[in-house]
Symmetry: D2
Subunit: 407 residues, 4 copies
């Protein structure tokens, strides 16, 4: 394994870090104020579009997209340290057009989209003009087993008719969200992993109804939002099908690999920021006659956090390296591992930082509590820990010949 | 130790449980809807006062208050199973006039209040006509060490003049909140634990300014709220002093014991409810060909939760028994222990339940995420874990003769 | 629940504690020296029989045996604090004729033995003249599922013929071990839980061959020992059958309940002693300019140990109380819980004490390392943690109506 | 960072793995039998010298030694995967002349030894003709703070006179152990880190008395052994001083870095072997109607073990890389981190494997229990976890300006 960063990556790191210092951090408060100040929280704070313009100008745009005619051409390993930096601020990924679920959706369109689909949806997404959502999870079933998904996509002449109840369609609260990638069953009688398809559903299609957005530990995550959506007899042209019928699982394998690792990279950034805040705080505060920074338990927590972060970063880099060199499929063990490791690591690190901040830690005076809430969802999103651990174990056990001898 | 429940307690348990089933659980949604529906979230949903009236009628009122002319006369041990039941619903404690910080404040007034103070503040509190807050924690210092508190109370003729910035004055967001018990320094030159006093500050006194309420994770906890309050040249009559100058720590020792254990009792109830929800959920949901309830890891989580709850309940009962029999001071080790155990236990139990609920778990469709957020604050409120663990260790080490021999 | 100790129990506690101080602790080294000094470690250090005589004289004998014509008549709850005291020293339980597996075996004989069996085996066991072992676990199968057990007991006229390979027959290394209770299959075609029987096998029966004793970590546990035994065409009179054919599981339910809880009581004693040693040690030693006792991390470990012990003890008492009041069968949830809690608790507490002792902790200069090894086996003996957790979860889930709706 | 393995390293890996399969694993039992069979356990099983000869012949000798006239010239990063392989078997490191404490001692002599010292001690050590020990830790003080060390080295003409009680001089039980590197105080009045010196003490010098060897969780670790040694008026020539007076700490900084990381590499190998054994075992055993390998909790344990190992290995590689590129001093944070991570990781992984093996796991039928005991000592040896965590935290806190403002 070679985790060396190329000159190009190092230059981008420097630029990104400077952009964070100059533009992102100072605007975190501005963004929040603009968001709170309007009549509704479901509109875009103007500072966001200003920052996006600036990022584009600095060439810090669409860095997530691997080599292709559309992208920055960075490998996963090259993108990792950049994505980590973006993860330090909740508002940063969007600024660089590198935020979920758009990144995953754009990758799907790059890989599997028709020219017409690309022209219509990929282009404005790449330009940051529109946003998108991904509609897979359903409220009435255990979506951790994706074969449970029941939403229907039925052919009707030149159209498909869609009926489903979806939730956790993140980003659907955003007024700029124009398109959803929808996963559902085209053929319930096909083999288990060929029943599902993915299809493009414009959000303004009649029958698409955002019922509500779901809070996450009290956070509405406006203007992004996590929507529950009803699809009632939604008719879309047959040409909106992605790749072809029955390829839902095949696409999602490709889609979820990078999506998962991006989340992990960002979580490492979030953890780094939490540890930084913690260190600064404990140097400032005195209790029982000495700075918190001199108290043994606090030091133990700092050390454990540094250890946690280092290990998670290295495993993320290894997973990225594997994806780049042997492909997402061969790297599935490593992807599953970081998908378990990174959120749990971040939760521990952030929780220790919260504790060191006292009451401030659970409030919004620091980005800790919201960062924790976000990390907590990532023990569920894209597959719960338990499912990934099971997959890791199966790969491990496969290394050995089965030797079960009936008692 | 005798943890047997008297007939009276068993009768109250039965009544309370029935009240929960008949009145509280069905009204949780109503309460939430009424809260959301108005122009502001900082007013009282009418259903709350209706439920309070009903509870009073059923004799389920002020159960927290130990034997005295005012109270139900239950010991801590007797109150424990009742308080636990109330802890199952976030809206329940107020219904029975048993919610923090009123309970602690009422106890202070019962024990240390003058007749005039009692008439003016204790009586309406006991009647559930007004509410109160407690102003101790300060944003600019590490309040985990209470001697750090800097707020000033200065004598000026027949008045005291108060200047301070306080936060986490929980309940101050409530329009019915009329009185604050304020802790601050009367004599900075006195011995370390005699510098502080507690004094009654009516919320409508000129100079008292609620600056904002602090969210907990994303929850505003309206209409209760956790306020940051500025006290600027607030003048209150000298007769508002509680007990006498310099007794702040002495009062808080008495106040915090019961307050802490009440939190723990409620947390056990919250954990029981989370486990109940988890068990029901995993019996309903199927993944990978069998109910979640039949999957080994889920079962392990259920078992661990049951074990966690049982142990925390027993330790809470022991602490209550000790408080009843040897007094709060002698029971300080046990109080410190449950103060560490109960929130951490609840966090683990609720977190497992969240995980089993998938996306639903982090949303507000179940009381899990908000319950988790509340439990998280209780690793900080009334002293962070670290301070309590240190106190427990000191008591343990005191059992042995010091034998340090310099190397 | 009433955990109050009667006068009789308090008197016994005082006597036991005094006996520990006067006789047991001072003789720990003597015992070890006598054990090491001979040609073989598989003989009894004379001091053991001397201490036994003394204990008998003091009326501290067979305290484990519940009310019956043979026993001390203590309930499980009454025995708990006494057994805990014995658990403080590895050599103590035998001194009071309260050590495994004799206690369990004696209980089986009291409950299910014929008069002849009692006369021949129970009486000398009660007198401490002989010792016994229990032969259930088999090396070639997963004994955690007891239905896997394959050892055969076949009727042949007035005899049974036994063939099996057993291991972890603890105590079989002892030259005084004269009798084994053997579990095996009499009828492999019977219903799953009626295939097994228990039968008495004198150790000197032809065909009984102790192949070796197994070390636990590096400890041989001489002269007790954990034996692997071959039973080859071992013929015992049909009258050696306990209760009747097919009752193996029924007996083991009765046998294992008290056996399990005794282990837990002793583990609490072992943990208390470890914590005591830790506290004394950290007061004595100085590092980086102050006693270890003043260092935050050490204090945290002490507090966590105190908390761990308190909770485990209370849960053990509750389990004992349940066994006394509703019976072993109804108390099976509580028994399973302490069976999981106590060994894990003890391992944590002892491990922290080891760490505080530095190199001394892993050696035999302190009873910590051997105590840890013993506790580690108890996460496996009498059922591994995983099996007990599964049982606890099943009981928990049973509280709710099954509501699985196929997706 | 570049963790790529050179062709040379890959060739060595292949050779080593083959040697393990062909020679080491099959001889583990032979070694044990030879050790047990003699009159004393404190002599060398002949198979050891046979294997050493074979390893030398295969060019698998002294691989630990970095570029120098004496060594294999591998960097730490290159040695890591090789050392890991050796760590899979407790008897392997010695076979390749790569076992502690000889490796550390040889490095000291290479770096700081005089030509005479090298000729006399380094040469036979490199040839595997003699062995050595390291005498630093003392029983009567907290050696975790090395400045506590009290052993005296006093100049007397052309000699130094040594008086001390040392313990945990590992390897001193070996009849081939001819030399000790002794650490003690030459000048108690010098600055704190210049009081100590290291000096060579031949084991046959009058006054050197091995009092006993200390067991580790019951294991005597013969014929290696962990000795307690009395040094009473031991006179050695002044030319035995290493480097010069007062350099004890400076040398130990250099010595302990590689020593620590070698331990970590080996622990990873030990963990890999435990996981392999676990996987094989759970595929073989059936309980409750299905192989253990199909049970959720077992799978979770396997996944956690794989995750633990991957992360620890990557962090070890990073530490090795840092040592190679920026030097041991700059890499001290990373060295401290793996020193905490590796033993704790190994303990968890091995413990899970033990649990899956049932009773077999705690016995000597598998290398698990002894491997666990060895890993446990490494949470203490070369500095306890707590000391390393404190060092890590200090480095972390140093990144930020001190900003303590007195309250």
């Amino acid at each position: 394994m070679n985790f060396e960063y190329s000159d190009r990556v190092q230059t981008l790191q420097t630029k990104l870090n400077k952009f964070m210092e100059d533009i992102i951090y100072p605007n975190e408060k501005v963004y929040k104020q603009q968001l709170h100040s309007g009549a509704s929280r479901w509109k875009i704070p103007p500072v966001m579009e200003e920052m996006k313009a600036e990022a584009k100008e600095h060439g810090l745009w669409n860095l997530f997209l691997p080599e292709s005619e559309y992208g920055a051409g960075l490998s996963n390993l090259e993108y990792a340290p950049l994505c980590e930096i973006m993860g330090r601020s909740p508002i940063a990924p969007e600024v660089f057009n590198c935020s979920a679920p758009d990144t995953g959706n754009m990758e799907v369109l790059v890989r599997y989209g028709t020219e017409v689909q690309k022209e219509k949806w990929l282009k404005p997404l790449l330009n940051g003009e529109i946003r998108s959502c991904f509609s897979m999870t359903e409220p009435q079933i255990a979506s951790s087993d994706a074969t449970n998904i029941e939403g229907r996509i039925e052919r009707d002449g030149d159209f498909y008719v869609i009926n489903a109840r979806k939730w956790w369609s993140s980003g659907a609260g955003d007024p700029r969200c124009k398109i959803s990638i929808f996963m559902g069953k085209t053929d319930p009688s096909a083999p288990r992993h060929e029943q599902q398809s993915m299809i493009l559903v414009p959000m303004d299609t009649p029958g698409v109804k955002v019922l509500r957005t779901l809070p996450v530990f009290g956070y509405d995550d406006a203007p992004h939002g996590h929507a529950e959506i009803e699809f009632e007899n939604v008719r879309v042209p047959a040409s909106n099908m992605i790749w072809e019928e029955g390829k839902g699982f095949a696409i999602s394998q490709g889609r979820l690999g990078p999506g998962r690792i991006h989340h992990c990279m960002r979580l490492i950034g979030a953890a780094e920021r939490a540890l930084e805040l913690m260190c600064k705080r404990v140097k400032e505060r005195v209790a029982f006659g000495k700075p918190l920074a001199d108290q043994g338990v606090i030091r133990e927590h700092i050390a454990e956090s540094r250890i946690d972060i280092e290990q998670a970063r290295l495993l993320t880099l290894k997973a990225a390296y594997m994806m780049d060199t042997v492909g997402n499929k061969e790297a599935k063990g490593e992807i599953a591992m970081i998908k378990v490791v990174a959120p749990n690591m971040a939760l521990r690190v952030i929780d220790r930082a919260i504790q060191a901040h006292g009451g401030g830690g659970v409030s919004d005076d620091f980005p800790l509590a919201s960062s924790w809430a976000n990390a907590r969802t990532l023990r569920l999103a894209d597959g719960p820990d338990e499912v990934h651990r099971n997959a890791i174990a199966k790969l491990e056990l496969k290394k050995y010949q089965s030797e079960v001898v009936p008692n």
